[in-house]
Symmetry: C2
Subunit: 431 residues, 2 copies
């Protein structure tokens, strides 16, 4: 076999990430060549509008509007997909894989939805499909899950995987700002979109949670399998009482396997102030892994942005190119095996519960009795008067979700209880 | 070529890490086989005393006292060195590499001292030499530095890489305990050795810092190139005033490249309370990386212990075995290029300086004048009376070490200054 002198890369998309990647490949050419064993060169960049001005100079012969031609071009050795969206990205990636070209993608939506199918297509074609940048931007996460933890058993993954909501919650905590004000600030600074739904309602985090769970447990998990709650209901008051009790409120992605059943969920959570995730502030991301042998592991960094994401794409590209040069292929996603999902009603966790109740003798006893009736045991309670009413904050011991919900229904029908306020799961407590 | 059905592993050493590795390989055989493409089997375990009782059952035919025979045994495909110490580990590893056998090692001392030479021997022999477990136990660090950040430019690495000292500093901070008491507690709990010198004087951290710097900057750095200060001089009072000023005291390994010159140093540092490293408590380790493209990255986990370390060794073993089966080899440490070291006197950083001085008018002016004379600018000052004396805490702006030292000499000769107390560098401040 002739020695391969150049690995020719076709890039689909040239937004922030694509432009940053093209620049990194050019700037670090020598380092990359040393690691790959051949020059890596971007020979095709497919864009929607070749006439648009770009932040990176791309030679005329490289730029094209025909993405479909790039993935079948015999002069393209590796395809990098950074165009986003599920279509036509899905068709292009599939075509590239079937044509025997390794693919690197940063496409969270697509991998969350079609990952298991695409992994199989890649395995059948015997080529790499790498997607480090699809979750948590520049943070090396997929690689450690696949490689460093090979032969370990992952029990639980807790992630702060959405920078927008983490930024909003940090502002609310630091300044006592209401959600709406913190969101407006995030929008002004470009951390949040004009329509913030995907972030604040947890859809973005749910897609990432699905990918994390798929890799961590070797089972197919789609976004539809993820229980999802956003942060729009979180008040400055919740965050203040969390702080008094020693907690920080975070939007967490939780993937856990208990007795062979999987739960994957995204929801606001009270995290103990000394837990490493509590220190993840502003728009940063972090993923906390609990595994049998390695114990606790956390990976922290920038979850978004052109450069951090391009850096993850480049790591994958170097890997794919090196494998190509070596005539080998990288770690494949092993055969996925469907695992049963545990219904949310059966999930157990401690809870924070805020109640507004009449401030008169006997009320606490009546409320405590309702908790006890459903087998929910109270770990701590804080009471503050507000006019004629009292505000009661309970932290429960670990309880079944169904039992907690039954308790809340019961409390809603209790005379002395004016209102059931926020109910937030507590995650990361030592037990 | 015949398909390789089994990768046969010779393990040198069967202490905590070795025993845990043998157990993990047996327990996770199927997962490992799926990832490697062949069964991985431990066929030789070399120990000093085959008669000793062990926590893991090893068949009689596997156990041997002849380590030298294991590394040349034609029936051993991969060698794992977890015996520790530099000799005979060095000779055994070298022999194995020259015999064409990939080597996985957890040996921090050896890699810190002889890494560059061993990397060259491995490169010449065309086989893998992997050492993830040599720094920060179970935390995937070497692999991200080598692979995920390929093509990025690392500017600085800050590490809490010694669990013993971090445990001691956490106890001092939480309980106001003096160093001696916190050390005694660490010894009682098995976090510190009877002779704690290697930990508390920073020798262990310096070896790890050398390895980190070598990989991060692609330049040979040995333990002798590392400026080293321990934590024995840190007082409960320093930690309390750090807390009042918004800092936490940590023993940091710092590797940085500025204008092509490298500094590698281990010393106590004031870390801002909101920096992610400040949240690294107890015996945990973390490594904080600052790079051009990826921005800030932190990897956190257990830096020691049989299982976490064995988990890192196993990750490497899977990698080496997979490469062997694929007939490929993994990422090599590229050619190292010697880089100039910046002398400590030329390093610039902000400082915390504690002075005891007479509490009378004009003293502060006199002291401030001394700082100014040497071009050291003061960022903040805190004064508290103690009897007839005052205790003054200064935080300087970024200053040259030589200028700060000259200031201190000057202050020591100043009438009103009774004593120059702790001088601690500030690291991780946003600038």
């Amino acid at each position: 076999m002739a020695v391969r002198e150049t690995v020719r890369v076709g890039v689909l998309g040239c937004g922030n990430v694509g432009a940053s990647l093209v620049r990194l490949v050019a700037e670090h050419g020598d380092v990359i060549a040393a690691r790959v064993g051949a020059r890596v060169e971007v020979t095709r960049v497919a864009v929607r509008d070749a006439g648009r001005t770009r932040t990176v100079a791309i030679p005329a012969g490289v730029l094209t509007e025909d993405a479909a031609a790039v993935v079948t071009d015999p002069d393209v050795d590796v395809v990098v997909e950074v165009m986003g969206g599920t279509d036509p990205a899905r068709q292009l990636i599939e075509t590239a894989l079937r044509a025997g070209k390794p693919v690197v993608t940063a496409n969270k939506e697509l991998i969350a939805r079609d990952g298991p199918e695409l992994f199989r297509i890649a395995a059948d074609a015997g080529v790499d499909l790498l997607f480090e940048a699809s979750v948590a931007g520049g943070i090396p996460l997929i690689r450690p899950l696949r490689e460093s933890l090979a032969g370990d058993r992952i029990r639980r993954v807790l992630g702060i995987v959405n920078g927008t909501t983490n930024y909003i919650l940090t502002r609310m905590a630091d300044e006592g700002a209401p959600f709406a004000d913190a969101l407006a600030e995030a929008q002004r600074l470009g951390y949040a979109e004009a329509d913030p739904t995907a972030d604040v309602e947890g859809f973005d985090a749910a897609a990432k949670a699905a990918i994390i769970a798929t890799i961590a447990f070797g089972a197919p998990v789609g976004p539809g399998d993820v229980h999802r709650e956003g942060i729009t209901g979180i008040t400055a008051d919740d965050i203040a009482s969390a702080a008094r009790l020693g907690y920080v409120v975070k939007l967490l992605a939780v993937a856990e396997e208990v007795d062979g059943a999987i739960t994957v969920r995204v929801h606001p959570a009270m995290v103990p102030v000394h837990h490493p995730l509590a220190a993840v502030r502003e728009a940063f991301n972090a993923v906390f892994i609990e595994a049998d042998a390695v114990g606790e592991l956390m990976l922290y960094g920038r979850g978004a942005g052109g450069d951090p994401t391009a850096s993850a794409v480049l790591g994958d590209l170097v890997d794919a190119a090196r494998n190509l040069v070596a005539g080998a292929r990288g770690a494949t996603i092993g055969e996925l095996t469907a695992a049963p999902f545990r219904p949310m009603a059966e999930v157990t966790t401690p809870y924070y519960v805020l109640l507004e109740a009449a401030d008169r003798p006997g009320v606490l006893a009546a409320i405590a009795e309702r908790f006890g009736r459903h087998g929910v045991s109270i770990a701590s309670m804080e009471q503050r008067g507000i006019g004629a009413d009292a505000r009661l904050v309970f932290i429960t011991h670990r309880a079944r979700e169904a039992d907690l919900m039954a308790t809340l229904d019961d409390l809603r029908g209790t005379d002395a209880v004016r209102r059931v306020g926020s109910v937030i799961r507590v995650v990361g407590e030592e037990e």
